[in-house]
């Protein structure tokens, strides 16, 4: 049979059945192609429980579904030294890493493509829509970030950000800049001086009061952290 196939010329219910018989990652990929495929994939009621946006090494979006973890890596500039790069630019290369458990072991798959159309925010909105997710659960930032905080602020403008994580190396000034740019609604987690929290609770009581908790901890790496004694619960 020929390698080309006129899928969209088939009846709509057949197109729906074809897309339904695909794996979740393939459904996410095909949903990018057209408004019609996006609508079809949205109707499958796929769910995710966590969206994490990180900008430490590159701009990446991690989506956790119940049986699948997807990391989408947006390469805006090949040269990492371009620190003033704006995360609002159209990424040149998009790499999607899908990890799932098959027969008690992890299996990963990489799908990469050259992107000329969508901005990072378009991808975020797209995946939030097809996965029926209405917030960014976590944002990870560090002083080593590629992108300036204003650019990050623009990227997530209008989205609910639940938790903000400051990773190792942030000074109090960095933390304040990020807190001014990105306002989490639930919590923030920082690796810094306990006095910082104390000082800034006085500076922005309204902001602090709206949080569920503030966590002060020693952040070892992405997977492990050791809590310090300072832990605030919302009163």
């Amino acid at each position: 049979m020929s390698s080309n196939f006129p899928l969209f010329l088939l009846p709509d219910n057949v197109i729906l059945s074809v897309i339904k018989s695909m794996e979740t990652v393939e459904q996410m990929m095909i949903s990018i192609l057209s408004r019609k495929t996006k609508k079809i994939v949205s109707s499958f009621n796929l769910q995710s429980y966590r969206f994490t946006l990180g900008t430490t090494e590159s701009c990446d979006l991690e989506i956790r579904c119940f049986d699948l973890k997807i990391r989408i890596d947006f390469k805006i500039f090949e040269n990492r030294t371009l620190r003033e790069a704006l995360v609002t630019e159209i990424p040149l290369i998009v790499k999607l890493y899908a990890t799932r458990i098959v027969n008690n072991r992890l299996e990963s798959e990489l799908i990469g493509w050259v992107n000329r159309t969508f901005k990072v925010r378009d991808f975020i909105d797209h995946f939030m829509e097809i996965l029926h997710h209405d917030r960014i659960d976590e944002i990870l930032v560090s002083s080593n970030d590629l992108y300036p905080p204003e650019s990050m602020q623009q990227l997530i403008n209008g989205l609910e950000i639940r938790d903000l994580y400051f990773s190792e190396g942030n000074s109090d000034v960095d933390a304040m800049i990020y807190l001014n740019a990105i306002k989490p609604t639930r919590s923030f987690f920082l690796d810094g001086s306990p006095l910082f929290v104390w000082n800034h609770t006085k500076m922005s009581p309204f902001f602090i009061q709206s949080l569920d908790h503030i966590r002060q901890a020693k952040f070892e790496n992405f997977f492990s952290s050791t809590d310090f004694s300072l832990y605030f619960e919302k009163m």
């Binding site: 049979m1 020929s2 390698s3 080309n4 196939f5 006129p6 899928l7 969209f8 010329l9 088939l10 009846p11 219910n13 057949v14 059945s17 074809v18 897309i19 339904k20 018989s21 695909m22 794996e23 393939e26 990929m29 095909i30 990018i32 192609l33 057209s34 999607l96 798959e109 799908i111 990469g112 493509w113 050259v114």
Partner: protein
């Protein structure tokens, strides 16, 4: 007349777009939900008009149905790797045009098993591909092609209406038959059976 009896020995006449008729066993035809909804309980008086599909396509579809008559009840899509050698040969020997015709006919006749295998086969073409590669494979249609598709779907809706009308007409006749006195009913059935015998003898 093709009888409404549920025996697998019963044959139904199918009419294709060329106007040709051929017979299909009741057991095979019962895999079509469209047929079940329209003719199963009332039977069909004369050939069933599936005139939107050519003879080759319909024969291919019913070849599949005849083959899967003895298989266990359909319980959702099966992975392509689990398909039997016969199933794989069945799909592999079709060219793309025939494959598309078979999907369309199977979809119209609502034969779940065949439609789902066809869909799974298309999904397989897109496995592990990125968006650009997907676009290359499924070739996004032009506005003219989409318009043509809409016309075809309208035509198919009209064909479905025609089949439904035929079913309604047959149902009406069956009801009329039930109202006839017993002797007259026996005579009418005898006449119809004679006509059917003659038509088969002529073929």
């Amino acid at each position: 007349m093709t009888s409404p009896a549920s025996s697998s020995e019963v044959k139904y006449l199918i009419e294709s777009s060329e106007g040709n008729t051929f017979d299909v066993s009741g057991a095979a035809l019962r895999q079509s939900n469209t047929f079940n909804a329209m003719f199963l309980n009332i039977g069909a008086d004369g050939p069933i008009p599936f005139t939107d599909y050519n003879e080759a396509t319909l024969k291919k579809v019913f070849e599949y149905c005849e083959h899967s008559v003895n298989e266990e009840n359909y319980s959702g899509p099966k992975h392509q790797d689990d398909l039997s050698k016969w199933d794989l040969n069945f799909f592999n020997e079709m060219d793309q045009k025939m494959f598309i015709d078979v999907i369309n006919a199977s979809n119209f006749l609502d034969i779940e098993r065949l439609t789902s295998y066809c869909c799974e086969r298309i999904a397989r073409m897109l496995r592990g591909k990125n968006t650009q590669e997907m676009i290359k494979v499924i070739t996004l249609p032009t506005a003219e092609e989409l318009e043509a598709k809409q016309k075809v779907e309208e035509k198919k809706a009209a064909a479905a209406k025609k089949v439904a009308e035929k079913a309604a007409e047959t149902a009406e006749k069956t009801e009329t038959l039930e109202e006839l006195p017993v002797q007259q009913l026996v005579q009418t059935t005898r006449n119809k059976l004679t006509r059917k015998y003659l038509s088969f003898s002529n073929e």
